[in-house]
């Protein structure tokens, strides 16, 4: 059931009406039923996986919480213990809870691993075996990856880790935990909410409130605009240029870079707008996943603004644990002694960065192109880190940092850099991506911009005009949002103005949405992860 399908529209309207007709106390139960119905309608086979994750996490988190509680009571009752004795006791208890945590993580990441990566591993083993001249290869297994498994597994494991870290208590109601894991709007593409944040508004009942519902509907409409008017329209041209890549070299590759960048942006942020908007209509608040990433002035800043809940997940549960682990600190000490302070200090940061970006790439998909894409991000971040002193010197020497032209230059530079790295995602083949990127510098077919070639990509002049208007609207609102909320601004306008804007956007979506021959309202890109 696509977010952009009529069946989903009927589904959310039904959920919305039933939600506010249900007594506040039972609203969360209705949401749980709706979430399982939604997932079951996608595929009944997937329900087993999400239930295993929920039930296993429920019992393990309760056990960890129980051990931690008895630790606290023991320490309260034995105040006479020396610091050393307390330390030893805590260490023992941590070892014990760690066993449960490890079991929970192995089981759930195992499920993700088996369904998502088994055939990737088999494929790689086969390639290695055949390169040594052997004919014997392993057969691929017939297993489907449950929709949204990457998202709900990450969400659930963050819950388990936070219980282990005593950041919050374990949820003692299995069905409430089941709702947290399966909450339907964010099941298929996030955001990867933390239990601490989402539980604040997910379980409590809400009375119908016109202002929050209006806010939510505005956000949903904005999401549909991005997805149907912009993303699905650009998709047609991108598809044309990558199906037979050898027919589209040189400056076409530049076009693919930029087109895909805005397609993905409009697609993913549009989906998240719909998700967060649905939550708002029900009075449920979710973490923001984007903060105008294409206004970033550096790649580091970009990753603080793009897919934020995934970035913070990797930072909290991979980057910090790896970089402050005893073995990493040991490596740091040794390298400081051997290579000096300057290099020694960099070692843990760089190794952890590459590990994080390798896993981020792997999370996106079981293909080498994603892994290379991840590593490229890590390498660029490390290079930028090395150049930081030079940048600082340049900025102070020429006093350019606050100049508008220089800021625009930095934004364009970041967009181009990110778009170039994204080519791995577009062509989905590492050697092909390198080859196609190389043609930008060898095939100067500048003529494609004026000889009518652009009209052979599946888009008409009208489509390009709509895209241009769409992107201007997108950027204007993004720039406005840097200093304030556009919805607050809109809500403070007279009713006639508000309704004129709504009508205009809805008419734009209906009239200029990418429907009809050649267009197809497609699945969101991040649904496949």
């Amino acid at each position: 059931m696509l977010f952009t399908s009529y069946s989903f529209l009927i589904f959310i309207i039904t959920v919305f009406i039933s939600y506010y007709l249900t007594p506040k106390k039972y609203q969360w139960i209705l949401l749980l039923c709706a979430s399982y119905l939604f997932y079951g309608l996608v595929s009944i086979d997937y329900l087993g996986y999400i239930m295993v994750t929920t039930i296993s996490t429920y019992f393990i988190s309760l056990k960890i919480h129980e051990i931690n509680q008895s630790k606290k009571s023991y320490l309260m009752e034995h105040k006479e213990l020396s610091r050393k004795e307390k330390k030893e006791y805590k260490k023992e208890i941590k070892k014990y809870t760690k066993k449960y945590l490890t079991f929970g993580m192995l089981l759930n990441f195992g499920l993700l691993g088996v369904t998502k990566y088994t055939n990737f591993i088999i494929g790689n083993i086969n390639s290695i075996v055949t390169s040594f001249g052997s004919n014997g290869t392993l057969s691929f297994i017939d297993i489907a990856m449950p929709m949204g498994i990457s998202f709900y597994t990450f969400k659930t494991m963050s819950y388990l880790l936070d219980v282990y870290r005593e950041k919050h208590d374990a949820e003692d109601n299995l069905f409430k935990l089941a709702l947290f894991v399966s909450f339907f709007p964010q099941l298929v593409q996030g955001p990867i909410s933390r239990y601490n944040d989402l539980s604040q508004t997910l379980f409590e009942g809400h009375r119908y409130k016109y202002t929050t519902v209006r806010h939510g509907i505005q956000r949903i409409i904005w999401g549909f605009f991005k997805k149907i008017v912009i993303a699905d329209r650009i998709l047609v041209a991108v598809k044309t240029m990558i199906v037979t890549p050898d027919d589209y070299k040189g400056f076409y590759v530049l076009l693919v870079m930029l087109f895909y960048t805005y397609q993905l942006y409009a697609d993913f942020t549009g989906g998240i707008d719909i998700t967060i908007g649905i939550g708002e209509t029900l009075g449920i608040e979710m973490a923001e996943n984007f903060k105008r990433p294409y206004l970033s002035r550096s790649i580091k800043e970009f990753w603080r603004r793009w897919h934020i809940t995934m970035g913070t997940w990797f930072k909290d549960y991979v980057f910090y644990p790896v970089s402050v682990s005893p073995w990493m600190l040991n490596i740091s000490k040794k390298s400081r002694k051997k290579f000096g302070n300057a290099i020694g200090k960099r070692v843990p940061v760089y190794i952890s960065t590459l590990i994080v970006w390798f896993t981020t790439g792997l999370w996106h998909g079981a293909h080498w192109n994603f892994i290379v894409w991840g590593l490229m991000n890590g390498i660029v971040i490390i290079i930028s880190f090395e150049f930081e002193p030079t940048y600082k010197w340049f900025h102070s020497k020429f006093n350019v940092e606050d100049k508008l032209a220089f800021r625009v230059f930095q934004i364009i530079r970041t967009i181009l850099l990110m778009s170039a790295i994204r080519l791995f995602d577009v062509y989905q083949n590492v050697p092909l991506t390198f080859r196609m990127f190389g043609t930008i510098f060898t095939e100067f077919n500048f003529n494609i911009f004026y000889d009518g070639s652009l009209l052979q990509l599946g888009l008409t002049i009208g489509d390009y005009i709509i895209l241009l208007i769409g992107l201007i609207v997108l950027y204007s609102i993004s720039i406005y949002q840097e200093t304030g909320s556009f919805r607050v601004y809109l809500n403070n306008r007279p009713q006639q103005v508000r309704y004129a804007v709504y009508s205009l956007v809805i008419i734009f979506i209906i009239v200029f949405g990418a429907y009809g021959v050649g267009f197809d309202s497609t699945q969101f890109i991040y649904n496949q992860f």
């Binding site: 610091r83 307390k86 330390k87 805590k90 870290r165 005593e166 950041k167 580091k300 930072k315 909290d316 980057f319 910090y320 644990p321 970089s323 402050v324 005893p326 600190l329 740091s332 000490k333 400081r336 200090k345 843990p348 940061v349 952890s352 960065t353 880190f385």
Partner: protein, 75 residues
Amino acid sequence: MELLLDILEDIHPDVNFKEKTGLIDEGILDSFDIIRIVADIDEEFDVAIPPEEIIPENFNSAKSLYELIERLLGN
């Protein structure tokens, strides 16, 4: 405290760490800085900061960071 201030100033010589109380919230320290600080603290104070303690409240000021070190030393 002086030793901790030396560590911090070594990373950002231009920041007044005695005064600042929003090192994370204001974006002065990023994740790379934090890792370098944790490694330096491990080296100089012989205190291992666990990942669950890497939260804005502990890194927002030199004072809160120092309190964290003292707490971990006490534990």
